[in-house]
Symmetry: C2
Subunit: 344 residues, 2 copies
């Protein structure tokens, strides 16, 4: 089959790789119908040293089960399924607590002999725990929306949930990327009254307004913080959802958050140290979040997509064939596209 | 009156200062019956540059109201009262949420013309909001226990509460100082089943066991972390209460905490940056806590002292007259004493 490999910064290739086969009775093989590229794929795309052992890319996909191993219950050939961005047995002590990202038998797509998601098919370890059946056909118009259950919608929702968003809340979302926009959707789902979106790409912030943002702050740094404070009666925002991953965005989050408030970080931190000393200690700021256990939220979020009340698939503003995925990385990296849908 | 002034590192003096008087109708004047020295007093005691404008020291006291301003309701001359370690109006938007440390009219003892607590008396701003009446006489044997409501008991409790300790929980307390021991008491009050105390001063850890610690880990750093993991089935501790304030203690906390777990920091951080990058992000660690709004917890904790079910006053292992308070700072700094009670 064909799959996406990264050989170094900017060097994305689609090549022939081994067809996936059942290796363990808990595996399934899924023919991929839709996948996409993620903001987090851009980190290695920008920085990977040239290598002869390329990375298998992609961690968001949905498709049709071709074969399920003998031990897999509840999932069978022909089912349309979505995969969360890590696989997990969904039965271990962490999974039972909704922390499938720490599953003792779980792992990442594209690592250790497991296929990536940007290909024609994938072997899915722990298929019963990992895959979630979608009650639609593979020709459904909802597939782009449902694909966001794989990562970005659940990641935005993880930010809102761990930040403790409650009805009537004031929420600031830092970052107008796909995850930031999903965080806007999520804050609204949880009843936030004021949702301030910090971003300066108008096409994206317009979509953010359509998703529920009540205010947009285009300024960054101290000016952006001042504007958020102005919009929140001088106090700052009770919840800040940091959806970027750069230190500047986190510093901005600390500036924007109200005393006693919570910052939830779902942008993968590209920095080792957090500026969180005596001053913010005196203000009782909480820093929470982390990598999102998407699997924990899929069942809860799917109905909102099925009934049309949320339309997170609108973040996809370009569709490419798998063979052209290198273009997809390029346009996302150049910010010509927000998020690229891939049809294998 | 006599009061404690710090002129520089190691230079504690008891001197005559102006007698406190009502300045605003919301003030009260309290004759101090008991006060004490705090671990946090040791930071300036170790480091303050010599100065001609000395710091007025002390932020923990209880005493008898001598006079209450015309606007003070519910507190009158003759009442025995305890003061939390910051004053607050207890009516502002932050106070109503239980965050009196961010009170818009509040402030610190010993700053801006307000008396410190290590003296014979104090003017109490916003007395109605700040002071809590104690239902005992000024000769009560419970006074040392009740004095801990001023800071350390509430600070330990803030750690346990913000960490989200629930019945059956596993809690690790980092630090065997007075706040760490109060955190042990608090974790037990909230129903923790396993309470691991990290400390290496046996007199203190023995008291910790008496307060409810189920395990003591004397090792530090990586060895200490390994021991906590051993005691928690390899996973680490769901809640870690960091009661020291040094970066080493926080690093140890990150090592000891379980995936999905919470570190609550109540040791005033003596460092500007927190090592909290990609690895702990992937483990979904939360960092919370901060300076404790003692006022928010006094009403809740006092009954446990009055009925004898907790005895936090046992942390006081030395009693000195105010005139000898310099000795108190010295023995606490040299770790010859855990916490020193001061009788003016």
């Amino acid at each position: 089959m064909r799959a996406t490999l990264l050989y170094g910064a900017g060097d994305v290739r689609v090549e022939d790789v081994a067809d996936p086969k059942i290796q363990n009775p808990t595996d399934a093989v899924v023919r991929i119908v839709l996948s996409c590229a993620c903001g987090s794929d851009l980190w290695p795309y920008k920085s990977l040293q040239p290598t002869d052992t390329p990375r298998h890319m992609g961690h968001e996909f949905l498709g049709v089960v071709e074969e399920a191993g003998a031990a897999v219950r509840g999932i069978k050939a022909g089912d349309v399924v979505v995969a969360p961005f890590v696989y997990a047995d969904n039965t271990c002590v962490y999974c039972r607590e909704g922390l499938q990202t720490s599953c003792v038998h779980g792992g990442q797509w594209g690592v250790g002999g497991v296929d990536g998601g940007q290909g024609q098919a994938a072997r899915v370890p722990h298929a019963e725990g990992t895959l979630v059946k979608l009650p639609v056909g593979e020709d459904s118009e909802l597939l782009p929306d449902l694909l966001t259950l794989s990562d970005i919608l659940c990641t935005g929702y993880h930010a809102a949930r761990t930040a403790g968003v409650v009805p009537g809340d004031t929420v600031t979302v830092v970052g107008d990327g796909a995850v930031g926009l999903a965080a806007v959707i999520s804050a609204k789902l949880l009843g936030a009254e004021q949702i301030i979106l910090m971003g300066r790409h108008q096409v994206r912030t317009d979509l953010g307004r359509a998703f529920g943002a009540t205010d947009v702050v285009a300024e960054r740094g101290e000016d952006g913080v001042a504007r958020v404070r102005e919009l929140t009666g001088g106090e700052g925002s009770r919840r800040v959802l940091e959806c970027v991953g750069l230190k500047e965005a986190l510093v901005q989050s600390f500036g924007a958050v109200r005393a006693g408030g919570t910052i939830s970080r779902v942008g993968a931190p590209q920095y080792p140290e957090v500026p969180f000393g005596f001053g913010d200690f005196m203000r009782n700021i909480t820093l929470t979040g982390g990598v999102a256990p998407a699997r924990a939220y899929i069942d809860e979020l799917m109905p909102h997509i099925l009934d049309g009340s949320i339309t997170p698939g609108r973040v996809f503003d370009r569709t490419l064939d798998l063979e052209d995925i290198a273009d997809g990385y390029r346009v996302m990296n150049d910010r010509q596209a927000l998020k690229v849908l891939i049809r294998p």
